[in-house]
Amino acid sequence: MKARVLVVDDDPALAEMLTIVLRGEGFDTAVVADGARALPALRELKPDIVLLDLMLPGMNGIDVCKAIRAESGVPIVMLTAKSDTVDIVLGLESGADDYVVKPFKPKELVARIRTRLRRTESEPAEVLAIGDLAIDVPGHEVTREGQAIQLTPLEFDLLVALARKPRQVFTREVLLEQVWGYRHAADTRLVNVHVQRLRSKVEKDPEHPEVVLTVRGVGYKAGPP
């Protein structure tokens, strides 16, 4: 089945070009030009991934991102013309999984999309433990004492990456490669922001993490089971 991409962008030329490129790469695409119509389209079309422009008429991209995240874990890749720290961090904090800065190269965008969709590929049946959590990898489920914790696919991937090698310390660069698919060192803020988001969901006390531990000056590692 072809993966379906929902493009939320107000620039018709860019939207059309995106459609051409993505169709060429074997994706189905739908375009929404207005932030306010993004959510109904999401419900109706059930896309596999959302490409979201941050500068939108109608409804701000950040708000759209939050609204989508509130009801769906669908991967969101932001298209942003701003590379200002604040805007990217804001976007990531409001729930985007990854971002591409305009002007991007089509291959770069496609690579980002494919990485986000990768999880649907078959995974070996395994159950991992991290901290006091149990992770059912094929079932895509994280539980603490039987209680399920809702994670987005990206947060899930991050947690699984850490849990697979419990004693290893992961540098941000390694995590960027494993979870986001960046082969060259990219923006480590991606890792920082998503670790924060993950902690806010899985930690009992995010101020004193027990599941995702920081190793100062190096990176992160899994808490002992």
Binding site: D11, M17, G24, K82, P103, P106
Partner: protein, 689 residues
């Protein structure tokens, strides 16, 4: 026993320094404190006034006392003369009887007192009688006791029948006593005798002393009070002035909202008011300027942002074209490649513009983290690897064996290093580029050294300027935007570090990045020296023998010529297919003429004039290349790069006026290599994408 003279010598040596230091401190205080100056000068002036006043007062009092004493004494002597006169009636001359009579007279004078004398006014006295004419056997004047105490001039006056007074100090019981002496002649039967009255001035002296002491004490108290008052009054004036100075200092430090407090309506209040008005207007001006600056930066940032969306579309379209360039005819395929390449440059420029506008706006934050600097250096070196390989440079890295942890923003530092390395490779003439890392307790230094053309004098300061280029005619491999070093400097500054450059013509250039190991630390010095102590590798010796400047110029021109030839080659490959012409030679002529006409007559005449092959070509004579060329170029668009490079070439050759053109043979053999490498570069870049 020998005494070590050194401590003394040292003291002698140090003492002047110490004195000078104190003196400097004092004079500094004197210069800086208005209050001190006012107090001290008030004190000096008023003590002079008090002194003069005191003196006048004292002399007045003394004079008054002495005058009344003298008046009383004169009255006393007149009365005494009358009294003594009665006693001495009928005295016969002869010393013995005379002195007996004298004593009797004096006794009556002292014991009974004189009848009409107001004793209290003149006080006690010692009477002395003498007869200057009667001289006894021993040769002495006949007189009563203490006659010797009387000074001679007084005696003379009295003997001349005058009433005279004298103040004289004599010894009484071993104590010096000041006396008021009054003398008068007593007319007697035979000849006059002299009567002297000696009034001790002890009481008067005592009074004077008391007055003097009182005056001194009063003067000192007055002076102290004056000093206090002056101090107080001065402070009233000085304090608001000092406050104004403080407020002004804070204002200068950027606290534009600070104002002076206005109390009352006096001069100080007026000062405060006008100061505040001034501050207000300056603040308004600054705000306005800030707003302008902000608007300008916003504009730059907005323009960059707004450009990005269409650029993204163009970029994607270009990439789609580029992906299927195999199916295009050669010219179109090459155009696509150039389009993509130039889009890369355009993007880089846009990115750098945005970066610099952000740095200018000061909105960037440092994402500092404790990282091993060696890792950052390794990544940067790895990133420039392909470019270095294509230019033949080797990047030699010298790092410490131990970890070099430092609180840095790895992304920024890597960007700075990539930039420096790209520059070094770009200008390194294929010689090794050395990267050296060193650290001490406070700082870590990274030096990037190349041994290429180097910098001219004064250029080390210019390299960090925006859009500054060392040599506009130089061939560029990395296609920098001209903003790289400007951004790097800002990045270093954001870390609280330094980025410095050194270079010498023919000896290469050296850039040193020094960063504090902890954020917020002040840098004092760098662990690595600048200029560097490296020995240059190979080749430099022969360069040093010839004038390095000329060598460099010729090399630069040689490269320029290579580029000038390059399009002819590449089009020569295309042209037969498109135009259907039989051989490469005419195409070469056509293309070259076109390039020449397009760019500059200097190049046209220079190149064509020196190439014998071109003169023999029949179908396009050099003097009139325009009509045919114009139509052809419209039909078959030339690769933009092919046009753009000759134009740089022409600029260079007009500037350098000659050596390259005079030596066309040097340029020719190199031509194919240049064209191949450029092509290969763009190809590999395309594949990497």
């Amino acid at each position: 026993m020998r005494v070590d003279p050194r401590p003394v010598t040292r003291w002698v040596q140090e003492a002047p320094a110490l004195v000078r230091e104190r003196w400097q401190q004092a004079s500094e205080l004197w210069r800086r404190s208005l209050q001190l100056r006012v107090v001290v000068s008030t004190l000096a002036l008023s003590s002079a006034v008090v002194f003069v006043l005191g003196m006048v007062l004292q002399s007045q009092i003394t004079d008054q006392m002495l005058n009344s004493k003298m008046t009383a004494a004169t009255a006393q002597i007149k009365a005494s003369v009358t009294a003594v006169q009665h006693q001495l009636v009928g005295v016969s001359p002869g010393p013995d009887s005379l002195s007996t009579r004298f004593n009797a007279a004096l006794n009556s004078l002292t014991s009974s007192g004189s009848p009409n004398i107001d004793g209290s006014s003149a006080g006690a006295f010692e009477p002395i009688l003498a007869d200057a004419r009667t001289i006894d056997a021993a040769g002495n004047v006949t007189a009563t006791a203490h006659y010797g105490d009387i000074p001679d001039d007084l005696k003379r006056f009295v003997q001349n029948d005058e009433i005279a007074t004298r103040i004289h100090t004599v010894s009484r019981d071993g104590v010096p006593t000041t006396m008021l002496m009054v003398g008068a002649q007593v007319p007697s039967a035979n000849h006059p005798v002299q009567l002297y009255l000696l009034f001790p001035l002890t009481a008067e002296q005592h009074t004077t002393e008391v007055v003097q002491n009182t005056l001194i004490v009063a003067g000192i108290v007055l002076l102290l009070l004056l000093a206090g008052i002056t101090n107080l009054v001065t402070r009233q004036v000085v304090r608001p002035v000092r406050q104004a100075a403080e407020v002004a200092e804070r204002f200068a430090d950027g606290k534009l909202d600070d104002r002076m407090t206005v109390v009352g309506e006096d001069d100080v209040a007026r000062l405060a008011e006008s100061y505040n008005e001034m501050a207000e207007s300056i603040q308004a001006q600054i705000r306005q300027l800030e707003e302008f600056g902000l608007l300008q930066r916003r504009f730059t940032s907005d323009v960059s942002h707004e450009l990005r969306t269409p650029l993204t579309t163009v970029r994607m379209a270009a990439d789609v074209l580029h992906a299927s360039r195999e199916q295009f005819p050669a010219g179109l395929a090459r155009s696509t490649e150039l389009l993509v390449d130039e889009l890369d440059r355009f993007e880089a420029l846009l990115g750098d513009l945005l970066e610099i506008s952000r740095l200018d706006a000061g909105v960037d934050e440092l994402a500092a983290d404790l990282v091993d600097v060696r890792g950052v250096v390794e990544r940067a070196v790895a990133a420039v690897g392909p470019v270095a390989a294509s230019s033949g440079s080797v990047v030699e890295t010298y790092v410490p064996d131990a970890e070099v942890p430092a609180e840095i923003d790895a992304r920024r530092v890597e960007r700075v290093l990539r930039n420096l390395l790209n520059n070094a490779v770009d200008h390194g003439e294929g010689l090794p580029v050395r990267v050296r890392v060193a650290a001490d307790e406070n700082a870590v230094a990274i030096v990037v050294r190349d041994f290429g053309v180097g910098l001219r004098e004064g250029e080390a300061e210019l390299v960090f300027n925006r859009f500054w280029r060392a040599d506009p005619s130089r061939n560029r491999r990395t296609g920098g935007t001209g903003l790289g070093l400007a951004i790097s400097v800002e990045d270093a500054r954001l870390h609280g570090g330094w980025l410095e450059a050194w270079g010498e013509r023919g000896k290469g250039a050296c850039f040193r990045l020094t960063l504090p190991r902890r954020q917020g630390q002040e840098l004092a010095d760098s662990p690595l020296p600048l200029p560097p102590e490296d020995e240059p590798p190979v080749r430099e010796l022969e360069d040093a023998e010839v004038s390095p400047l000329i060598v460099a110029e010729i090399e630069a021109d040689a490269e320029v010529e290579e580029i000038a030839w390059q399009p002819a080659e590449s089009v020569a490959l295309d042209e037969p297919m498109v135009l259907g012409e039989p051989a490469g030679e005419p195409a070469v002529t056509w293309e070259l003429a076109g390039a020449g006409a397009d760019s500059s007559p200097a190049l046209e005449s220079g190149v064509i004039g020196h190439d014998p092959e071109l003169d023999g070509v029949p179908n396009t004579p050099p003097p009139s290349p325009f009509p045919s060329r114009a139509s052809e170029s419209r039909l078959y668009p030339l690769p933009p790069k092919a046009d753009s490079q000759p134009s740089t070439a022409s600029r260079a050759s007009t500037l350098d006026a000659g050596p390259g053109q005079a030596d066309p043979g040097a340029s020719e053999p190199a031509a194919p290599t240049a064209s191949e490498s450029t092509f290969a570069n763009s190809k590999s870049a395309g594949e990497a994408r």
